[in-house]
Structure formats: structure tokens, C-alpha cells
């Protein structure tokens, strides 16, 4: 049964958090040094021009009027126009261009983490306290200890420079025009839709290293959670019952253990999605991928405040949404949570 009431309750609880999130972003931008009007007008603009921009932006209004306006705009996903990076373009449009890039990266990273993390965690638990277990655990801890901005460049050096088998940066070879076939904004999917195998191959080759460096982190956390969850489940009474009634050890572990052990892993997948988004900022910088992460870094550097607030709020909304989905999935898998 779908937990309707639970979902409704969780959605209502989100409202104050999201208002808080917007308030925090509003405060951060008002505390930031620099005059937005001057940033837009440029250093050499006349005083009147700067004043006119200031009035247009509503910067002369009392702070609470600006705050209410801001909340109203944010509720409609309206973050204003970019000051510097993409002049006279709405932040929403800029985000629509860059968000799919980051999502694609995060999704492949997540996929990598799940595909390798879950089997490794099960292996580690089944072989508890053996060499395999120790190696997996140390491997996982190493995975979360190595910074993306070190492993990324080293992998580029190895695979792109020394071996020359993978591209160094970007999302697809520059000879292809991705904009022409844009549907979702995710190159691996767009090239598939267009049915161009050469382009698809190029996109996948570009995606391999970034997904690997960002995915290792997820893999480490997922395998660790899977291991401890598995170890807890195998101690349960129903596992003993299953074995007592004559079921083979392998079937018991897979049929009864694995499915129950997956439940807490779902939570960790959601929690570390935030880490994945942070990791995307670093990965995009290292591999020169123009996503929302590189956009944010550039916007902070040049003082493009609407872009900063748009990206930060979008990231926070995404993160909150993913956590909501995780909570709902969790309550669906384990109905005890709903009480």
C-alpha cells in the first residue's frame, strides 16, 4: 500500500525547511561584500546608470520588502537574470542548460556506486574477518579518503596522457555539435536518441573517468553500509529459522538476508547524494565539464549573485527532494517507520 498520509505529512514538514533554506540564501547574499548594481554596470559606468540599475533591482526598497519579493520569486522558481556570466539571460534558462550535465554525472556516479558497492558489501559480510573482508574495508576507507581533485588528475595523466586511450576533458569530442540534437541535455542519452553511435561512443568515453572518480566515493559508503547491515541481518531469528528448516546457506543469505539488509542501504544512498553533488563541483572543475558546479564557482568568483542563489537553492531543493524520496521508499520497504 502506498503510504499517502506519510508522504503528505513529510511534504508539509518540508515547507518550513525550504523557507529556512531560502532565508539563509537571502541572508548570505545580503552579507556578501560588493555592490550588485556596480557589478552589473561595470567599474566605469556613470553614477546615474548605477543608480538606475539599483532602483530596477529593488535594492532601494526596505530589506523586508526585498525579502518578501525574494521568497515570492523563489516560490515560482524565478531567480532573476544573470549579472555577468550570461547577461540578460534568466537564471532559470542558464540552470536548464547546466543542470542536466550535473545530474548526468551524479547519476552515473551513483550507478557506479550501487553496482559495485552492494556486491562488495555483501562479499565483505559473508566473508567477515577474512582477508577479502579486510581488503574490501580498507579499500572502501581509502576510497572516501582520496580527494577527487587528486585521483581525477592522476587518472587523466594515466589514461589520457600516458596510455592515450581516453580523452582528457569535456563531455564529448569537440568535432560533434551536441546542441543540434539536444533533447534531455544529457549527452549519453541525447546521442542515443539521435541514434548516432559514433557520438554516443565519444560521450561514453568522456564519461568514464568522471563517473569513476565521483562513483568511488558512493561505492565506499554503500559497501560499508551494506556490510554492517548484512552482518546485523544474519543475526536475526528468521535467518536461523530459515537455516533450521534446511535451506542452503547461500539461498538463506540471498533470499532472506540480502533483501532485508538493503533497507538501510537505501537511506545511505540518499544521504550521500549531497556528497555526490559536492563531488560534482570538484569533478566538473577537474574534467572541465560545464555543469552547475563549475557555474557556481565562476559565479562566486565574479559576483554574479542571481546565479549563486539560483544554483545553491536548486542544489538544496534537489537534495531535499532526494531525501524525501528516500524516506518514502524506506517507509514503503519498512512500514514500521510510518508510525
Amino acid at each position: 500500500m502506498f503510504p499517502k498520509r506519510f508522504v503528505l505529512k513529510r511534504l508539509l514538514l518540508l515547507v518550513p525547511v525550504l523557507i529556512g533554506v531560502a532565508t539563509l540564501v537571502f541572508s548570505i547574499l545580503h552579507l556578501s561584500p560588493g555592490d550588485p548594481a556596480l557589478t552589473i554596470a561595470g567599474e566605469r559606468a556613470s553614477q546615474e546608470f548605477v543608480e538606475r540599475i539599483r532602483a530596477d533591482l529593488g535594492l532601494n526598497d526596505p530589506i523586508w520588502v526585498q525579502y518578501i519579493d525574494f521568497l515570492g520569486n523563489v516560490a515560482q522558481f524565478d531567480f532573476g537574470e544573470s549579472y555577468v556570466i550570461n547577461r540578460n539571460t534568466s537564471v532559470r534558462e542558464v540552470l536548464a542548460d547546466t543542470l542536466p550535465v550535473t545530474l548526468e554525472l551524479a547519476l552515473y556516479g551513483q550507478l557506479f556506486g550501487i553496482l559495485f558497492g552492494i556486491p562488495l558489501g555483501v562479499l565483505s559480510a559473508v566473508k567477515q574477518d577474512t582477508i577479502t573482508d579486510h581488503a574490501t574495508r580498507v579499500g572502501a576507507l581509502t576510497g572516501i579518503s582520496v580527494p577527487i581533485f587528486w585521483s581525477g588528475p592522476l587518472l587523466i595523466l594515466l589514461f589520457a596522457q600516458v596510455l592515450g586511450i581516453l580523452p582528457t576533458s569535456g563531455r564529448i569530442s569537440s568535432t560533434y555539435n551536441v546542441a543540434a540534437i539536444r533533447v534531455t541535455g544529457m549527452v549519453t542519452i541525447d546521442t542515443l536518441i539521435a541514434g548516432d553511435w559514433e557520438m554516443f561512443r565519444s560521450a561514453v568515453r568522456h564519461m568514464l573517468l568522471p563517473s569513476l572518480v565521483i562513483g568511488v566515493y558512493s561505492m565506499a559508503l554503500i559497501s560499508r553500509m551494506m556490510r554492517s547491515s548484512m552482518l546485523e541481518v544474519v543475526r536475526q531469528d528468521y535467518m536461523r529459522t530459515a537455516r533450521a528448516k534446511g535451506q542452503g546457506a547461500k539461498i538463506t543469505v540471498l533470499k532472506h538476508g540480502f533483501r532485508n539488509a538493503l533497507i538501510p542501504v537505501v537511506t545511505i544512498i540518499g544521504i550521500q547524494f549531497g556528497g555526490l553533488l559536492g563531488g560534482a563541483v570538484l569533478t566538473e572543475t577537474v574534467f572541465a565539464i560545464g555543469g552547475i558546479g563549475t557555474l557556481l564557482v565562476e559565479a562566486i568568483e565574479v559576483g554574479d549573485y542571481p546565479i549563486v542563489q539560483g544554483t545553491v537553492l536548486t542544489f538544496a531543493f534537489l537534495f531535499t527532494l532526494v531525501n524525501l524520496v528516500v524516506d518514502v521508499t524506506y517507509s514503503y520497504l519498512d512500514p514500521r517507520i510510518q508510525q
Binding site: 587523466i156 552482518l231 547524494f273 568568483e301
Partner: protein, 309 residues
């Protein structure tokens, strides 16, 4: 017992007392039997020694200054320059060693400040409950709604550039505080259910006394684990902010900045050592804290103690 007039017998009793205490504490004995945790501790101690040694023997001004014309530029690792030299002909070994001091110093301040803030907020929220609890914890929820590195990036922009790494420290302190507040609130709620708390209150103890003398000491274990795990994260996040250009100011021998320069100016022209060694030390240090923190968490979790049949 005064230490100066310790007889052999007393010394033996004292040391046996310590061993007994370690044995009696399931947490410590579990932790000390965990080889990985001990390896982590060894790495951390080694880094502390390097950090202190670098701080005491190296002149920051000398290792930050350009050595173009004096040293060979971008020299590969050799006997004379074990880690090679960078794009300003500075020897990398002393700079990487000094980086350990930066990592430990700024990591300690970040984790220390967020621990103090988080513990204070968490304990107060748990003890007073009601509105206090709601106001504090909902604020923490808002901070936790952001992916941590992104919130840190947004917060960094508030502080002026001149603060260098300190603005990264300030931003990360705010980002980490809610994690401590949550853990401590949970632990404190459990402690507060104990009868000795009611007894202390009945005896007329003041609120601060109950919190500091009775609740806090019983929450120390989860606080320590959380601090250790966050220490690794803090060091990596500080380096990440420097890497993105929002941390250490130019010339500073911080690992993140050296890595950033090494990657952007040296890596693709074959000068791998410029970014390799700072990154290696960074990864090793973080691994040390993660190994130790992970071992501590297992030692605290009673479910991990019993063996599976």
C-alpha cells in the same frame, strides 16, 4: 599519591591500574585490538610529528618565496630534491611538510569549533526540549538541507579574501555544527532518561551543573567518534575549498593550493610530482582519521562485538 616518591610497588599498581582500566573498558580494549584503527592512529601521530617539526624548523617566509634562479625550475624528484621542485623552483618536500602543519592546525580549529558549538546546542536542545529544542533543531535541519561543500562555498563568499584559509574554517565550522548537534542531542536524550539525573536535579543542582557534570561526560564517546570522522572530512574540505580558489592565499604551502597549482600548471606537461606529493600526504592523513574513526565507531557499537555463529 605524589609521583616523585613512587615506590616500585606503587608504580606497578599504578600501571596495572591503567591496564585494568583499559581491559575493563570494552570500548578501549576493542579499539586497541583493531589493527586498522591502530594503523590510523600511527598515521595521525606521524603527521603530527611532521607538522610540529616543520613548524619549528622551517621558515615560512623562506619556503613561500620564489626560488627562481637559485634552484632548478620544475626539477624531477632527486636526491637533492626528494619531492622535486615546483613552478617557482621551490623545493616541494619542505612545503609539503609544512602543509601538514596547516592541515592539522586548521583542521583542529574547524572540528574544535564545530564540536563546541554543536555540543552546546545539542545538549541545550535535549535538556530544555519544547520550543528551545524546536528552534535549535529546525535551524540545524535548514543547514543540513544543503550539500555540505556547496553551503561552504556560498558561506565563504561572505568573508573578505584577506582572511585566506580562515574564511574556509569559518564556513566549514557552520557546515559541520549541525552534525554534532544532532548526534549529541540524541545521546543526551538517552542520558537524561537515567534516574541519577532526576536525583541530581532533586538535590538542587543548577542546570549548567547537570549539563556539564552529568550529561556531557556520558555523551563523550559519540562526540569523540564524530569528531574523529569529521576531522578527515574537514581536512579534505579545507583542501577542496583551496583547490577551488576559496581558501589559502597565493604562496601558502597548503596541500589544497599546491595541488591546485600543480594540476593546472604542471600535470599535463609531465610535472606530476608537483601535485602528486601534496595529494598523497592529504589522502594519507584523511585515511588515518577515517581508519581510527571507523574503528572507534565499531568499538562503540555493541552489535559488532559478538561473533556470528
Amino acid at each position: 599519591m605524589s609521583t616523585e616518591t613512587l615506590t616500585d610497588g606503587e608504580a606497578e599498581t599504578a600501571s596495572r591500574g591503567l591496564v585494568d582500566r583499559v581491559r575493563a573498558s570494552p570500548f578501549l580494549s576493542q579499539l586497541l585490538s583493531n589493527r586498522l584503527a591502530l594503523a590510523g592512529l600511527a598515521i595521525i601521530l606521524a603527521m603530527i610529528v611532521i607538522a610540529v617539526y616543520a613548524r619549528l624548523t622551517l621558515d615560512l617566509e623562506v619556503i613561500s618565496r620564489s626560488q627562481l634562479g637559485t634552484n632548478p625550475n620544475r626539477a624531477a624528484p632527486s636526491l637533492e630534491y626528494p619531492f622535486g621542485t615546483d613552478g617557482q623552483a621551490r623545493a616541494l618536500l619542505p612545503r609539503v611538510a609544512y602543509g601538514a602543519w596547516y592541515a592539522m592546525l586548521f583542521g583542529t580549529v574547524t572540528v574544535g569549533a564545530s564540536t563546541v558549538l554543536g555540543v552546546g546546542l545539542g545538549i541545550v536542545a535535549a535538556y530544555y526540549g519544547d520550543i528551545t529544542d524546536n528552534v535549535i533543531m529546525r535551524t540545524m535541519d535548514v543547514l543540513l538541507a544543503f550539500p555540505s561543500l556547496l553551503l561552504a562555498l556560498a558561506l565563504v563568499s561572505i568573508f573578505p579574501d584577506e582572511l585566506g584559509l580562515w574564511r574556509a574554517v569559518a564556513a566549514l565550522t557552520l557546515v559541520y555544527t549541525p552534525r554534532f548537534a544532532r548526534v549529541v542531542r540524541g545521546a543526551a536524550l538517552t542520558v537524561l532518561e537515567n534516574e541519577y539525573i532526576d536525583a541530581t536535579v532533586a538535590l538542587g543542582a543548577t542546570d549548567p551543573r547537570v549539563l556539564v557534570r552529568h550529561v556531557l561526560p556520558n555523551c563523550l564517546a559519540p562526540i569523540t567518534v564524530q569528531s574523529t570522522l569529521n576531522f578527515g572530512l574537514a581536512i579534505i574540505d579545507l583542501a577542496a575549498l583551496s583547490f577551488l580558489g576559496f581558501g589559502a592565499s597565493a604562496g601558502t604551502p597548503s596541500w589544497g593550493l599546491m595541488l591546485s597549482n600543480g594540476v593546472s600548471q604542471g600535470l599535463l606537461t609531465g610535472v606530476w610530482w608537483w601535485s602528486f606529493f601534496p595529494g598523497l600526504f592529504l589522502a594519507l592523513t584523511v585515511l588515518g582519521f577515517n581508519l581510527l574513526g571507523d574503528g572507534m565507531r565499531d568499538a562503540l557499537d555493541p552489535r559488532m562485538r559478538e561473533a556470528v555463529d
